[in-house]
Amino acid sequence: MGIKIANALLAVLAGVGGAVAVFYLLNKLGELLPGRWEERVKPFLWLFPALAAIGVYLIYPTVQTIIFSFANASSTQFIGLSNYSDLLASSAFQTTLVNTLLWIIIVPAGTIVLGLLIATLADRLEPRAEKTAKTFIFLPLAVGAVSAGAIWRFVYAASPASQEQVGLLNGIVTGVGGDPVNWLQISSGKLNSFLLMVILMWLQAGFAMVLLSAAIKGVPVDTLEAARLDGAGEGAIFFRVVVPQIRTSLITVFITVLITVLKTFDIVYVMTNGNFGTNVIAVDFYNQLFTNSNAGYAAAIVVMLMLVMIPIMTYQIRQFRAEEVSR
């Protein structure tokens, strides 16, 4: 153990020290150049490590993945579009797509509703209580998806009917006289998929709450007063006055949660590994790559994932350009 720690420490120092040394050398290299050239070349010297990282870890692999998606399982021969047509024709992948679609529809919407509910209600509490309540809701976001898997595995756990129940949900069911249910294996009505979505909503609600709460606090009071003077009820004020004014924040939360949903891997992987009809696209990718050793299918799956991301990417770039103009 002592050696392990010493090794780790050495590795950390070497890694960080190496990075510092690279920049020191790059800067020295720039200073060796004659004046005018120094100014011209320096930006690229300083950018080089960042661009190299992006090039090797994002751009090269993306291009390569697109190429692999047209090749066979071991990426040795091109087979045209068959990876795509095979996948789309297989009923297992169709289930995966349907599940992913359900995640896309339910989780962002559910997260926003929960976040709005908590933000609106907590805003009416006295400051100390508001802060405490928000900390509780936010905490899951820190613990991460794998730990969340451990937490919820324990909530959904099922013991045989003859034994006492360990899982909370079955404890409640048997407590009111029912039979224990093996929650994660019930695919009828997509119940098990929905129970997995609950975990992601539990994780993400705090994020939605923080952003939406800040937005709600920013709504000018006079607009609310005016509506109240006109005799609008609290419900009407909320939907017709508050919601339109926090639109940008709602879109932000929606997009962010949507991206999280599309990439969801850990939760499904640790809870069911995609079995019992709960598979989603990111888990299917992993299993195609490692369980089936089919790099072609795996690549085709991520390319489809990327295609879904393109509208989001376009939106991001448009927003970025608009911000640059207003800067």
Binding site: A19, F23, Y57, R124, G149, E164, Q165, F265
Partner: protein, 308 residues
């Protein structure tokens, strides 16, 4: 953040500085000014908080229960028949190698957090304060890469690592997290640097300071909030990461806590008491970071949660 301002999902939100950021500037907003909030509001919020905390409480309680009880009765029975032990924690260290995994997690996370900040700070400085051809194109490319899912990169990188023979090493996973975190790091830090007053840079230039000196002595100290926000986001991202760890490190002597925890999840024959103790142990560092650095934490998370 209300009407008028343009918000992208990844901008640094100064108005969401902490979970409980309480800017009650608008006195007249509540229907019952000065009075207490209605009872039903407090009941609903209380219920929601209970719903949010009870699953975690169950895990925490079980991790301190003796093995035979943890596996034969619900954790809530501890309130009627209390009995507490620390045996589970010594067991996860000796039987599940959680101690070693903890050291690995630290060894993976620290460089994977510090190195990208250094690299991105230099790049952000260039994008903010230097003029060169292709600057706008490169910046748009970085914004586009923000949403590219890391899954895209995994198959080719695995092959590349296989050729280089570095699969399973710390270096393999450091480099991966540096690459994957780079667009967000540059974007966040550049956005912050762009708000710094340009006159300071100009006067430093007139005083004869080189870019290198301006960078280290002026810009880095002034950019601390953005650096801290990214640092915390990246730290938690890497600490809680499972996918990249599974692919580039895998189970074995270099595995981080997340993989160790997943193998506990896979072998439930070892019992709930080990899984819950391992789970709580894995969460310890993120929760401490969260409670002590809440302000930066929320800022980093809200700014960074779209990262692929």
């Amino acid at each position: 953040m209300s009407s008028g301002t343009v918000a992208t999902p990844i901008q640094l939100q100064s108005d969401t500085a902490s979970v409980g950021s309480n800017t009650k500037a608008r006195g007249g907003k509540k229907p019952d000014v000065g009075g207490k909030s209605p009872l039903w509001v407090r009941i609903v919020v209380g219920l929601l908080c209970a719903l949010w905390i009870i699953p975690t409480l169950g895990l925490a309680v079980t991790s301190f229960r003796p093995a035979d009880q943890a596996n034969s009765s619900g954790w809530w029975t501890i309130f009627t028949s209390p009995s507490v032990t620390l045996q589970n924690y010594s067991d996860v260290f000796s039987r599940a190698n959680m101690g070693e995994a903890f050291v690995n997690s630290v060894a993976i996370t620290v460089p994977a957090t510090i190195i990208p900040i250094l690299i991105a700070a230099f790049a952000a400085y260039v994008f903010t304060f230097m003029q060169f051809k292709g600057r706008d194109f490169l910046m748009v490319m970085i914004v586009a890469l923000l949403v590219v899912p890391t899954q895209v990169a995994l198959v080719p990188l695995l092959k590349l690592y296989g050729d280089l023979g570095i699969s399973g090493t710390f270096l393999a996973i450091w480099l991966a997290h540096i690459g994957f975190g780079m667009p967000l790091a540059i974007y966040l830090i550049r956005n912050y640097m762009a708000t710094l007053p340009k006159e300071i840079i100009e006067s430093a230039k007139i005083d004869g300071a080189s870019h290198f000196q301006t960078f280290w002595r002026l810009i880095i100290p002034m950019s601390t909030p953005a650096l801290a926000s990214f640092a915390i986001f990246q730290f938690l991202w890497v600490w809680n990461d499972l996918l990249a760890a599974l692919i580039f490190v895998g189970p074995g002597s270099n595995q981080p806590l997340t993989i160790a925890l997943v193998s506990l999840l896979g072998n439930q024959g070892q019992g709930w008491q080990l899984l819950t103790a391992g789970g709580l142990f894995t969460m310890l560092v993120p929760i401490l970071v969260f409670l002590s650095l809440q302000r930066y934490f929320v800022r980093g998370l809200t700014a960074g949660s779209v990262k692929g």
